[in-house]
Amino acid sequence: MRPLHFLYAPFLLAALGLPLAAAAQSGPTAPPSEPMTFESAEHEERYQRLIRELRCTVCQNQNLIESNAPLANDLRRQIAVMVNDGSETNEIIDFMVARYGDFVLFRPPMKSTTYLLWFGPGAMLLIGLGVLGTILWRRRTQVGSTPLSGEEEERLRRILGEGGGDKA
């Protein structure tokens, strides 16, 4: 029997071609990314710290260094440019917050709208401890011993007396 491998060739080509075509069609066209260069190690260190602290707004649970989104790429480039231009770290953070809001910060600032976020867990813990404390305190008074009344004392003696057995 002759090998029929050549029959698979069109399928194989189609399979290879499909992802390529899809990649060519979808996705925004980011400018080709060139490697980022920094004037000094201090600049690079600042850049590296910033891209770990700022959140990617497209893929919300990643920071800028983890994200492959085109926007994250643009923002990394923007940060690199600003770092090289000598912008202070807080200037760059202000730049991002002015555009995307506090959401870009993985460590949200302390202000009236975030008090619940910052103090909520602690408040919940205190409430929980308070509830536990009151319950335990009440139970402590509940298990206190109360002496038997005269009638109960009499009954107890009778039961014990029967158990002792006169007829033994």
Partner: protein, 176 residues
């Protein structure tokens, strides 16, 4: 005594209520810090003709809609007829073509129609960053003085036009 047994039940319903509200919230919708601020300045080549410039100040003088879109954005395609609807209602619609290629964008407009008075061609996405764009389509309502008064992220629906955009637009029109 009765309250003691009722309390866990009430707490349970309160929790269910909170979770139910939480389900209906969209975690991707972020409040924009730009609402109430001046629209960031830009000066871009126009999409149709690179010789012509389109700047932020070209939108001023009358309240206008500023729509961020791209040909690679599927939602923008669904949203497109809504923009034509708004234009018919008398709202000037301007566009920002975000991280696109000129030929793709022009093909998109040829195919689905062009409701825009002018379109800035933001190839690098830098103007998009200034406008805090993270998910196309995004739509801004800018008043006659260049103040951003409303922002919508995602597709504009007929409900949003009826309940948010048109009432606010009429109000801005009446402002002097």
């Amino acid at each position: 005594m009765k309250l003691r047994f009722l309390l866990p039940l009430l707490a349970f319903f309160a929790l269910v209520g909170l979770l139910f509200v939480g389900l209906s919230l969209d975690p991707r919708a972020l409040p924009s810090p730009l609402v109430g601020k001046e629209a960031p300045d830009f000066d871009l080549p126009e999409l149709h003709n690179p010789e012509v410039r389109f700047a932020r100040d070209d939108m001023l003088g009358k309240p206008a809609l500023f729509n961020v879109w791209a040909s690679w954005c599927v939602t923008c395609r669904h949203e497109h007829p809504m923009l034509a609807e708004l234009r018919r209602a008398g709202v000037p619609v301007y566009g920002l073509n975000y991280k696109d290629t000129r030929s793709d964008a022009l093909r998109f407009l040829a195919r689905y129609g062009d409701p825009y008075s002018a379109i800035g061609f933001d190839e690098s996405g830098m103007v998009g960053i200034d406008y805090g764009v993270y998910a196309t389509p995004e739509t801004f309502l800018i008043d006659r003085n260049g103040m951003i008064r409303f922002k919508h992220i995602g597709m504009i629906t007929p409900e949003i036009i009826e309940t948010r955009i048109l009432p606010l637009y009429r109000q801005l029109e009446a402002e002097t």
